[in-house]
C-alpha cells in the first residue's frame, strides 16, 4: 500500500507530469472558480475556502504531516535532510505560506471593501499609519535578536557542506550550483549557455527593473489586495513561484547523478539508464516527415525553426493585441504592451522549451553549430 503510494508519487514527479500538475495547481489555487468553462469553475469554486485561515491551516498541517511521514523513507530522508538541502525544504513551506498569506489578506480586504467596511490595515492602525519608533524599530530589533540566535543554533547543529579539495579531473556527480542558482542551472539544461547564462538572466533583471514603468496600475500600494491587481499578481507569481522556486525545488530534490531525474522516494542510482537521444526540429521536419536528407545550407536547413521563432516573437504580439488581449493592449498602450509581450514571451519560452525537451527530446528549434547559434 505505502510502496504503491511511493511509486505513484515517483511516477507523478517525472518532470512533464509534475510541471503540468504544478501549472494546473497554480492557476486553480490562484483563481479558484474563476477560470475556464462553467463546469470547471463550478468544480474549482470550493477551493476558495483554502483562503480561510482555518482551512488553510489544516491544509498546511496535512502537508507538514505528509512531509514528516515521508522522512521515514530512507531515500527521501537522505536527500531532504542533507544539511545543504534543509533550507530548501523549509523554503517550500515558507514560500507557500507567505504566498497564501498575502493572497488571503488580499481576498479579505477585497471582501471588506465590497462590504464597504474599513480594510485590515486601517483597522489595525486607525488612520493607516504607524510610528517608526517604537512600532517598526522595536519589531526589527526583536527579529534581529531571534534570527541571530536561530542562525547560531543552526550553524552549530548542521555541518557546512564542505567537500574534498577541488580536482579538475574529478567532477562531483551530480555537480550542483548553490541552491539560489539552481534555477539558472536548470535553464542551462534546456538552452545554450549564451541564452540561459547571459540573455535570460539579463532579461530577468531588466524585466524586474522595468516593472514600475510597465505596470500602470496604481492600486495596491500599502495594503493587501487581490481583486485590484489580478494580472500583475498572476504574472509575477508565475515567474517567481513556477519558474524560479519550482526550478530550485526540482534542481535540489529531483536531479540526481548524471543530472537524471529521480522521484522523491527513488534511490539515486548513478547507473540509471534514461534514453534521452536528442533530436532537432530540423531533423524532425526534414528527415522524419519529408524523408529527405538535411539540406547543406544552414539557412535552408533551419528555415522552419527560424520561421517559428520569428512568428513567436514578431507575429504573436500583434495578434494578441488584436484578438485575445485587446483590453490589456488598450490599457498599456502600444510601447508598453510590446515591451511587456517581449519580456513575457521570453519568460514563457522557458517552460515551452522544457516541455519540448521532456516530451519530444527536442534539442534545438534552431541550430547552427557552425557559428555556435542554437535556440
Amino acid at each position: 500500500m505505502i510502496e504503491a503510494l511511493k511509486h505513484s508519487v515517483n511516477w507523478l514527479s517525472a518532470p512533464p507530469r509534475f510541471f503540468t500538475i504544478t501549472l494546473a495547481a497554480f492557476f486553480v489555487l490562484l483563481f479558484p472558480g474563476e477560470l475556464g468553462p462553467a463546469w470547471l469553475r463550478r468544480l474549482t469554486r470550493p477551493l476558495q475556502t483554502v483562503y480561510r485561515p482555518k482551512v488553510g491551516g489544516i491544509v498546511f498541517a496535512v502537508l507538514g504531516v505528509l512531509f514528516l511521514a515521508s522522512c521515514f523513507d530512507p531515500n527521501f530522508a537522505l536527500i531532504v535532510l542533507k544539511p545543504d538541502n534543509v533550507p530548501i525544504a523549509a523554503m517550500i513551506f515558507l514560500v507557500a505560506f507567505f504566498v497564501w498569506f498575502g493572497l488571503k489578506e488580499g481576498r479579505r480586504n477585497d471582501a471588506l471593501r465590497a462590504a464597504e467596511q474599513p480594510i485590515i490595515e486601517k483597522r489595525e492602525s486607525g488612520d493607516g499609519k504607524v510610528m517608526v519608533w517604537p512600532d517598526l524599530v522595536y519589531t526589527e530589533f526583536l527579529c534581529m535578536i531571534l534570527w541571530t540566535i536561530f542562525l547560531i543554533v543552526w550553524s552549530i547543529c548542521l555541518k557546512a557542506p564542505i567537500e574534498e579539495p577541488a580536482n579538475p579531473a574529478k567532477t562531483p556527480n551530480p555537480s550542483k550550483a548553490p541552491w539560489y542558482f539552481l534555477g539558472l542551472q536548470e535553464m542551462l539544461v534546456y538552452y545554450d549557455p549564451w541564452i540561459a547564462g547571459v540573455l535570460l538572466p539579463g532579461l530577468i533583471i531588466v524585466g524586474l527593473c522595468a516593472i514600475p514603468y510597465i505596470d500602470k496600475n496604481p492600486k495596491g500600494n500599502g495594503y493587501f489586495t487581490f481583486k485590484e491587481r489580478k494580472p500583475e499578481i498572476a504574472i509575477f507569481l508565475f515567474g517567481f513561484v513556477v519558474l524560479w522556486v519550482w526550478l530550485i525545488i526540482i534542481g535540489t530534490f529531483l536531479r540526481g547523478p548524471n543530472q537524471n531525474f529521480f522521484g522523491p522516494f527513488e534511490y539515486w542510482d548513478a547507473h540509471k539508464l534514461v534514453p534521452l537521444i536528442n533530436v532537432d526540429l530540423s531533423q524532425i521536419i526534414w528527415v522524419k516527415w519529408m524523408h529527405t536528407a538535411l539540406p547543406r545550407n544552414p539557412i535552408l536547413r533551419e528555415i522552419f525553426g527560424l520561421t517559428l521563432v520569428a512568428a513567436y516573437f514578431l507575429a504573436l504580439p500583434p495578434l494578441l493585441a488584436k484578438r485575445w488581449l485587446k483590453g490589456y493592449y488598450e490599457k498599456l498602450g502600444p510601447t508598453r504592451f510590446h515591451i511587456m509581450m517581449f519580456l513575457g514571451l521570453t519568460m514563457l519560452s522557458l517552460p515551452i522549451k522544457m516541455m519540448l525537451r521532456w516530451t519530444l527530446n527536442m534539442h534545438y528549434v534552431v541550430t547552427v553549430p557552425e557559428i555556435f547559434f542554437n535556440i
Partner: protein
Amino acid sequence: MAAAPGKPASAQAATPSVMTRRGFLSTLGVAWTAFAAACAAGAVATTRFMFPNVLFEPPQQFKAGLPADFQTGTVDQRYKESFGVFIVRDEQGIYVLRAVCTHLGCTPNWLEAENKFKCPCHGSGFYRSGINYEGPAPRPLERYRIVLADDGQILIDKTKIFAQEKGEWSSPDSFLKV
C-alpha cells in the same frame, strides 16, 4: 552662504588668513601628487599580479606510451588527471578526446557500463566517438592531434584541436591508424 552679502562675509575674509593662495595651491599639488602616486603604485601592483612568479602549465605536448599499451575497445583514463584527455582505441586506431564538456566546460565522466561520456553538471551525453547525443551540449567533444613519434611512442599535441562540426575529424592527424 558664500553668496551672502554684507558684513559677515567680509568679516570672515578679514580674519588673519592662515592659508595664502600660493600655500593652498602647493598643498593641493602635494595632495594630488600623492594620490596619483598611490594610484600608479596600485596599478603597477595589479599589473605585476597578472604575471605570477610560478605558473603551472603542463606541457602542451606529451608522449603517452606505445600504441600497444592501449587495448582495443577501451577508453583509457590514465592521462585524464594530468593532461585532461581520454585516449580511445577502437578497431581502426586511436584518437584522443579532450575531457572538457562542450556545453560549459565541466569534466565529463566515462561510464563504462553505459558506454558513454556523461557530464555531471547539466547531463550532456556523448558516444564513445565523442559525438553528443543527449543533454544540452551543442557539439561533439573535441579531439587532439595524435601522431607517432620517432621512437614509436604516441605523441599527443594539445595545441591542435579538431572539431567534428567543422569536418576536421577526417584530418589524418586527428586519428592514429594502428
